[in-house]
Symmetry: C2
Subunit: 351 residues, 2 copies
């Protein structure tokens, strides 16, 4: 374990709903294409997957936003699809098309041949990146590790890539639910091993991203989103704080809080106040400004930050963030205005 | 006015929350590519827009699902984007890309040059189609007219087509809200004139589709979805029942019911029971089976229909439907199994 002591633990204290002098803030996809220094490193690495698999360069891009902005957490640079790739699926990123698995899962045979892999072996480059990041960060801020949630990973594995209506995964859910259960179980086992390996490597916080949970009806949401996430959260009990972010699932906030997670991430389609009233005694909340606000002038960004902070109110347990990843076309100075506004306005609200 | 008296008014009675012997049912996009007879007529018409603009052929495809299945309502075959086209925007449908406006709205000048058009003149082909459909239907079932909601239409007009993150529309919402207000107002004026023309032409019910309202934060939802929809609903007061369907907006059900609409459409991500408890004294509910269920075996379709009907419960005020348009790859026999199951199971529940 190489987890350094933290010089700035505001994020961790807010996650535990302890008072902090200001609201900590980070941005989903903060190490990304909107930063010229990211694009330069990406160029050096070649393709996207090579960047993920190069611990030195992955550490470099992870730390770029920490060097540029006064952010309260770093997030491991990686991709959610490294897990299915480690399970033996052939992954490539096609320009303009997104990720492609050339051998999508369609039959029992396809599922049964998928192994539960030793993450420290097959995903050793992620653990190496975590160690390298911590060595370079030297405790400046906590490091967030992450995974895709089983449902979201399963959609890519079954569709063979991105999808509009998830036809194959949905067909399996309704026509062959036992088969989809097997996929989800297998992925969940792998994710748990992966999460524990990240904890051993030194992450301070673990986040689960369920990007596509919002397309499920309430019964399937329970079966394929909430239940497997709960299994992951329970496997990490006593290890590190766990954040659950299921996009488009504000109506399921109570169920997600009941998974036992430490922090519940929210997108921008909901107000924070009613969610805090419902689940604020169980979890901290993370979010939730529309990332598109960052296209606007800095004055507008400030107004929207103020609205978000006042919506949550002057209580402990808020980690400010966007409601989804930062868009590639945003000027870095606008991201800076967002971070500065969170710190300044929240500090003033405490006073 | 050529609105024929109805032989089957089950839909209308359910919309008014009056008791019916069974639950009426129709399917969004029921006149569509999953039907071989639709594909044949489409072939005859040439491109998609030509089909929309040919009253004889539009009537033909509107009635195809009524001839094939025991459906309780017909819906005008058209496209939501005929309104911006009638306003002078140049619309085309590119194969594999969807709709394209070659001259998207970006400036005040672009907005101010958009007229409020006389729908009976510029959209006369829609009114002609309505009259032709009614002549052929001869009151077998009610005819639903429709429009896209102002927000959804504005996204296409500003983005120039389909979009993933609505960057230009969102930028306008945050950086130039007065400009977006003008777009929305102008579109709303046009939609109201269009709706009234459809009523005069003979529709029995009017539905407003806000396909992209689910990407708005609560403040923008009020300003760009709920308020303009309310203006349209109020303009149609005393005319025909109005259905509001805003996809991905279950959390806003109370606000949408407060627009004064007759029926609230719901997608499949929510259960009907809690929504009925909240707004069932104000509106009927329409929906909400996941359209992907129709990929599954007929037995599974029956089970899911039963679940949906029991979820709503044995109360008046339910119009069964899918939670979004039927997918093009669904076998027509599966659509038939859905409709039959709704009728059979709901009739048994009444007993």
């Amino acid at each position: 374990m190489t987890r350094p002591a933290l010089k700035n633990d505001t994020f961790i204290r807010a996650a535990r709903r302890e008072p902090t002098p200001y609201t900590p803030v980070w941005m989903m996809r903060q190490a990304g294409r909107y930063l010229p220094e990211y694009r330069a490193t990406r160029e050096k690495a070649g393709d996207f997957l090579s960047l993920c698999k190069n611990p030195e360069l992955a550490a470099e891009v992870t730390i770029q936003p920490i060097d540029r902005f006064d952010i309260d957490a770093a997030i491991l640079f990686s991709d959610i699809l490294v897990v299915p790739e480690a399970m033996g699926m052939n992954l490539s990123f096609q320009v303009g098309e997104g990720p492609v698995f050339s051998d999508p899962i369609r039959t029992v045979h396809d599922v049964d041949r998928l192994p539960v892999v030793d993450a420290e072996d097959k995903l050793g480059y992620v653990m190496a990146a975590i160690k390298e990041i911590n060595a370079r960060l030297d405790g400046r801020v906590p490091l967030i590790g992450f995974t895709g949630a089983p449902w979201t990973l399963a959609t890519y594995m079954i569709e063979g890539g991105s999808s509009k209506d998830f036809a194959n995964t949905k067909r399996m859910a309704f026509d062959a639910p036992a088969l989809l259960d097997r996929v989800i179980d297998k992925v969940t086992d792998n994710v748990i091993d992966y999460a524990k390996a990240q904890v051993r490597a030194g992450i301070h916080v673990f986040q689960i991203f369920d990007t596509w949970a919002g397309v499920l009806d309430p019964r399937l949401f329970e079966r394929y989103c909430a239940a497997p996430i709960q299994r992951i959260v329970q496997a990490l009990e006593g290890e590190v704080p766990v954040t659950v972010f299921a996009k488009g699932c504000a109506q399921h906030a109570e169920r997600l809080a009941a998974t036992g997670c430490t922090v519940l991430g929210l997108d921008w389609t909901t107000n924070l106040a009613p969610i805090r009233e419902k689940v604020g005694d169980k979890v901290a909340l993370q979010g939730n400004m529309d990332p598109s606000v960052l296209y606007a002038k800095p004055e507008v960004i400030r107004d929207e930050v103020k609205r978000m902070l006042e919506d949550f109110g002057n209580h402990p347990g808020h980690i400010a963030n966007l409601g989804h990843g930062i868009h590639p076309g945003v000027p870095p100075s606008h991201a800076g205005a967002f971070i500065e506004a969170v710190h300044e306005i929240s500090a003033r609200m405490r006073g």
